[in-house]
């Protein structure tokens, strides 16, 4: 049995490393992920599934665990969160690790702007975000603040609203989520959330160009 699973794992590893420059192979059994998150996990706003390529390993692991344990996605009004939760609930810890490894091998084009906020206003508002998420939105593992660069603007906006409205980050087991939930209260309007999301989108493009 052990030998067999070792064989499967090494096969998996071979597949995962057979990175055809930009085309990461979908590990067997994980085809479901690409149905919503798209080719090379580029994201699909029509399904509400964000781009995943480029996210940090530690952040991905934490979120997958949160979904699995019902820490994230349990709020009845968080429809897409709930959809994601049902995909993860049945997976083993080993499978979650495999998913994270696979995500880090995917490469997809940076998202294009899909919302139009006021970038100057967003820049000013982002100053307080930068304390944790970094000036270039590159994230900070020590503080548990994820990289935001490369995320879809519509997704950043949705999540900011979820935090603001208490759909995310209200679980006591979700310490980082709670921090973010508190931090999101500096935003008083939907417009401000839109401005920040647009600014981060802008940041992703400029940073990757430089």
């Amino acid at each position: 049995m052990l030998n067999k699973s070792f064989l499967v794992l090494s096969l998996l590893a071979c597949l995962a490393f057979r990175v055809n420059a930009e085309q990461a192979v979908t590990p067997p059994g994980l085809e479901y992920c690409t149905v919503c998150h798209g080719s090379q996990l580029k994201g699909n706003s029509n399904i509400g599934a964000p781009r995943l390529s480029g996210l940090s390993t530690w952040y991905l692991s934490r979120q997958l665990r949160n979904f699995k344990q019902g820490v994230r996605g349990a709020h009845p009004e968080d429809v897409t969160g709930k959809e994601m939760m049902s995909m993860v609930t049945h997976l083993s810890d080993q499978q979650l690790t495999e998913i994270v490894e696979w995500i880090t091998t995917t490469e997809s084009e940076l998202p294009r702007p899909s919302i139009s906020g006021d970038i100057q206003s967003g820049k000013a508002l982002y100053k307080s975000c930068a304390v944790c998420h970094g000036e270039g939105a590159q994230g900070n593992e020590q503080l548990g603040a994820p990289k935001l660069r490369g995320l879809n603007d519509w997704y950043i906006l949705t999540q900011l609203n979820h935090f603001r409205q208490g759909l995310r980050g209200i679980e006591t087991r979700d310490a980082f989520g709670q921090q973010m939930q508190a931090a999101s209260q500096i935003l008083t309007t939907e417009q401000e959330a839109t401005d920040i999301a647009s600014y981060i989108q802008q940041l992703s493009i400029t940073k990757s160009k430089s």
Binding site: E31, G38, G43, I47, E83
Partner: protein, 529 residues
């Protein structure tokens, strides 16, 4: 796509909107079906010695029909299908079949018997769905009548008549009686003097008396048309106590079920293939030169100058294939997740098609208890979340039966079911069924649930576009971009119906013919120069 909103409209908005929508539909459809259908499109055959290649994405009904017609015309087709099975939403499940719900895969545990199957997607064919009926005939798919309505089935509203279900025949009889009484009263009070001559008013009063079974002085006091509380064979009939007008108006009975057999797509008699709707899929498969490539998930679609290039992933390997043309049956909302070089407008048009949330439950019942209650086929309607209960009209008096235990169109109700585990859904459906048929749960042996918006590779049924988007983008999606053609019920006015899928295929093939005409013309010109 407008069809579903019309359905919802009729179901949930009410009789006034419903009747005008119904009228519009009938008129529109009436115009459409002036025997305009003369069989599938005759595709321009390729030049001798040429066998143009076509990639078809998705082995749903539109994809299969498109492949069939193109092969007949001399084209070489490859069908790529992301799922482990062909058919798309034409899904009939039997013993042991996998129901590939995202996150909640189920295995159908119906007994292994020919009569125990469930049509999870399309389940009924009206006589005017000429395209589908053409294929059923051409592909030797035997059909039988499907009773879509039974006047012995029930209307149930938890908030009306103390939640007691009422036979549809009783309800229909009472509604006619009550409405006729009002008509009689109005006529008697000279309300129609401006509109009708005295003679015609007299006729109207006679009509209302006949139509509603009124007394000589225009009263509705119940009618034996609704049945009898006595044994009609041995005793004089005694009609059931009729509804009061106020009770009728306060109930939700007339919200949807009242029109259950009156709408053009549900007009009797309806049909179904013997043994399951997937007979249509199998009919196509038998005729195709190449079986669909299964488990092939499309990752990239690129229009090239002289064809279309598609990359798909299958069993951990990427394959890139090129063809002269591509017919795409993939749900449009997935296209954003597939790399492509479509124009922004075309992609925006694709994005305007939104997921639909239809939901079904089916139970294997140990006993066909409904038949003992006089119900042979048809539908009971309820204000409970399950909305409808369908009784099978095939294999009457068999020992067991598959009952449709829920069919919901209201996105909110469907979302509620989607969020539940399969077992929770079955339990919730059973609790609703108890209110219409006491003892319902004790007959349930097993069951399945189909939340279309959570089904792998489909993630929706009954796609919708807003009215404005429809106006702006639908005509655009009916035309090819490059050599890429969108097909499927999503590119029709009749989303959620196989006839819509077939119409989209026919429309796309007509576009292909136009394109071929142009190419030949251009080629001719080049030749001359």
């Amino acid at each position: 796509m407008q069809n579903i909103s019309r359905r919802e409209f009729l179901s949930y908005v009410g009789a006034v909107g419903g009747s005008s929508a119904l009228l519009k539909t009938s008129l529109a459809m009436g115009l459409m079906t002036q025997d305009s259908y003369s069989g599938p499109v005759k595709i321009r055959p390729p030049a001798p010695g040429h066998k143009p290649t076509v990639l078809i994405l998705g082995a749903g009904i539109a994809g299969l029909a498109t492949a069939f017609e193109l092969e007949q015309a001399g084209y070489q087709c490859i069908i790529l299908e992301a799922s482990f099975r062909p058919g798309g939403r034409n899904l009939t499940v039997r013993n042991g079949d996998k129901i590939d719900e995202m996150g909640n895969p189920q295995i159908c545990e119906f007994d292994k018997q020919d009569n125990l199957y469930f049509n999870c997607g399309p389940a009924r064919i009206p006589g005017h769905h000429r395209r589908l009926l053409h294929y059923c005939k051409a592909l030797n798919v035997p059909l039988q009548i499907k009773a879509n309505s039974s006047k012995m089935a029930y209307f149930h509203d938890d908030k009306s008549l103390n939640g007691k279900p009422k036979r549809i025949i009783e309800y229909h009889t009472d509604v006619r009686g009550l409405m006729s009484e009002l008509l009689w009263k109005s006529a008697d009070a000279n309300q129609f003097d401006q509109l009708l001559s005295q003679e015609d008013v007299a006729k109207l009063m006679t009509f209302s008396k006949t139509y509603g079974d009124l007394t000589e002085n225009g009263k509705y006091i119940g009618s034996e048309r609704a049945g009898s509380t006595t044994d009609r064979m041995l005793d004089y009939p005694k009609p059931p106590v009729p509804l009061e007008l106020k009770e009728m108006l306060d109930s939700r009975f007339w919200y949807g079920g009242l029109l259950g057999a009156e709408i053009y797509d549900w007009c009797e008699p309806l049909m179904e293939p013997i043994g399951g709707m997937d007979a249509v899929v199998n009919g196509f498969l038998k005729q195709l030169d190449n079986a669909p490539v299964l488990n092939a998930q499309v990752k990239k679609i690129f229009n090239r100058e002289d064809g279309v290039e598609v990359t798909y992933e299958r069993g951990g390997q990427f394959h890139t294939v090129r063809a002269d043309y591509c017919f795409n049956n993939i749900p449009a909302y997935f296209m954003k997740g597939i790399e492509n070089n479509f124009s922004n407008t075309y992609q925006t048009a694709l994005d305007s098609i939104k997921r639909g949330h239809l939901f079904k439950i089916a139970y294997q019942m140990s006993d066909r208890f409904w038949e003992r209650d006089g119900i042979y086929g048809g539908i009971s309607y309820t204000s409970e979340p399950v909305s409808q209960i369908w009784y099978p009209s095939h294999d009457i008096h068999a020992s067991k039966g598959i009952l449709l235990g829920a069919y919901t169109w209201d996105p909110k109700v469907s979302a509620m079911f989607e969020a539940m585990s399969p077992q929770q859904r079955l339990d919730a459906g059973a609790a609703c069924g108890e209110k219409i048929h006491p003892g319902y749960s004790q007959y349930i042996e097993n069951g399945i649930s189909i939340p279309w918006a959570r089904m792998n590779h489909q993630m929706g049924c009954g796609m919708q576009m807003s009215k404005d988007d429809f106006k702006q983008y639908f005509p655009m999606l009916q035309k090819p971009e490059g050599r890429h053609f969108m097909i499927g019920d999503q590119i029709s006015h009749h989303s959620g119906w196989q006839e819509g899928a077939l119409a989209s295929s026919e429309q796309a093939l007509t576009q292909l013919n136009l394109m071929l005409d142009k190419q030949i013309y251009a080629g001719g010109e080049r030749h001359v120069k």
